[in-house]
Amino acid sequence: MIDKLVLYLQMPMVHYALIVGVLIALCSSLLGVHLVLKRFSFIGDGLSHVAFGVMAIASVLQLSNDMLLVMPVTVICAVLLLRTGQNTKIKGDAAIAMISVGALAFGYLIMNIFPTSSNLSGDVCSTLFGSTSILTLTAGEVWLCIVLSAVVVLVFVLFYNKIFAITFDEDFARASGTEARLYNLIIAVITAVIIVLAMNLVGSLLISALVIFPALSAMRLFRNFLSVTVCSAVLSVFCALAGLIISILAGTPVGSTIVAVDAFAFLVCWVLGNVIKRRN
């Protein structure tokens, strides 16, 4: 088995997959803490279904680079969904659910009416559950992912204190003069970017897992925001690596293997958390 692993690890396509997997896991877990605490756990699901719908349109239009359409539309939806104004007529979770299933239905409908390949259900399935496309990434895509991830991490570090302030108490932040609207907008944009990137890795049905599992696991173990954020990032990267290697060795689907490892890690953290609590 070690021989098999060493053999695989020499292939450039496996290098690419590992780089992209780790970066996406890192970015999604950083934002996950904010999204879970703000009760936006399902934002990943909602936005990825939007991206799925737009991807269907892009493939019907036969765009050479569907990112050019998918990215802006998803960003706009993220901004609309995360705009936490008092005047919104439909409340947060209902709005997300509505856009999420609506986009999914329209996407599938469009793909059915204008089929672009003979293997329709295969196409749909690979977009929903993640495909082997993480193993067929080109150098260009990997670089795009590296650059975008670097931007996301940099923005997160620079805005870390502001993100904490508006996550804990947005009214206080706004009342005392913090530009909460601007920072909410920034968070919405990077959330959308991460989710479009993550579709390659785990597919649109499983993205929520990358966002919420590491944050929830870290919250079992730690009691302050900085530790939770750092733990969530470390845990997410570790689970993504473990999941990728298992899926390569065992030939299982990449996305669901990573999510399974994340879920297992949550279980371990939950038990550990209870043990720690009982000791104190």
């Binding site: 302030a165 804990f168 206080f172």
Partner: protein
């Protein structure tokens, strides 16, 4: 010096007005209590003073009060009940409004957070998790955070709700002490006896609107109704 003046203020949601033609002013060093029945619009008034809501009519003038010179003690939200954050992280976040676009807190702001924690006897709780504290301790943390945001004016939204009687008195004394140090206080409360004991001015909203000093309130019809019911013990 006058800090806030409300002129012919109307408040409400959409086009429905809860309060109309409200006039009052707050001077530096005042202790204003806003009292009134549930649903009278106390919290709406506070959100308008904080510029979280726009008034439906009239205006509020803020003279000599910059946007980042307001300290606010909100009511507890659902999110905060299971939020993983240490006392120090929360108190320090009160300095955020002074940072502008600067990403990290500077030495002066960290010192200020520590001073305010010292003042409110939170130093020993520095690394404790907020959600594991008692109600009174949580309110002191939020008060310390508000003090990091301002040295001028505090707006408190029912600061003693859910606290036991002993902690309630301690909280009131703490706020009175801050007022004595020169910080202007605007407080929403249900507790008219506390308002009569600590406030310098009282704003009563509801069917009857009253604004004036504490002594004027005690003599006014709306104030007399309450003081007589309580046997005048508050004064």
């Amino acid at each position: 010096m006058e800090l806030i003046r409300a002129e012919h203020l109307s408040l409400g949601y959409d086009s429905h007005n809860i309060i109309e033609d409200l006039n009052f002013s707050v001077n530096e060093g005042d202790y204003l209590c806003i009292v009134g029945e549930n649903g009278a619009g106390k919290s709406t008034l506070m959100k308008t003073l904080l510029k979280l809501l726009a008034p439906t009519g009239g205006q509020i003038r803020f003279d000599g009060l910059k946007k980042n010179e307001i300290g606010y003690l909100p009511q507890q939200t659902q999110v905060q009940k299971d939020f993983p954050a240490s006392v120090y992280e929360i108190v320090l976040s009160g300095c955020q409004a002074h940072c502008g676009l600067r990403p990290f807190y500077n030495r002066e702001e960290k010192k200020r957070a520590l001073e305010n924690m010292e003042k409110l006897e939170l130093t020993d709780l520095r690394n404790r998790c907020y959600r594991e504290l008692s109600g009174g301790q949580q309110q002191r943390v939020l008060l310390a955070r508000a003090l990091c945001a301002t040295r001028k004016i505090l707006l408190l939204d029912e600061p003693v709700s859910g606290l036991d009687p002993k902690v309630t008195v301690e909280m009131y004394e703490l706020i009175a002490g801050l007022n004595a140090d020169g910080i202007t206080v605007i407080m929403i409360t249900h507790d008219i006896s506390a308002a009569l004991r600590y406030a310098s001015h009282i704003l009563h909203i509801g069917e009857d609107i009253f604004f004036g000093t504490r002594d004027e309130y005690a003599k006014s019809p709306v104030g007399r109704y309450f003081t007589e019911k309580m046997g005048g013990q508050a004064l």
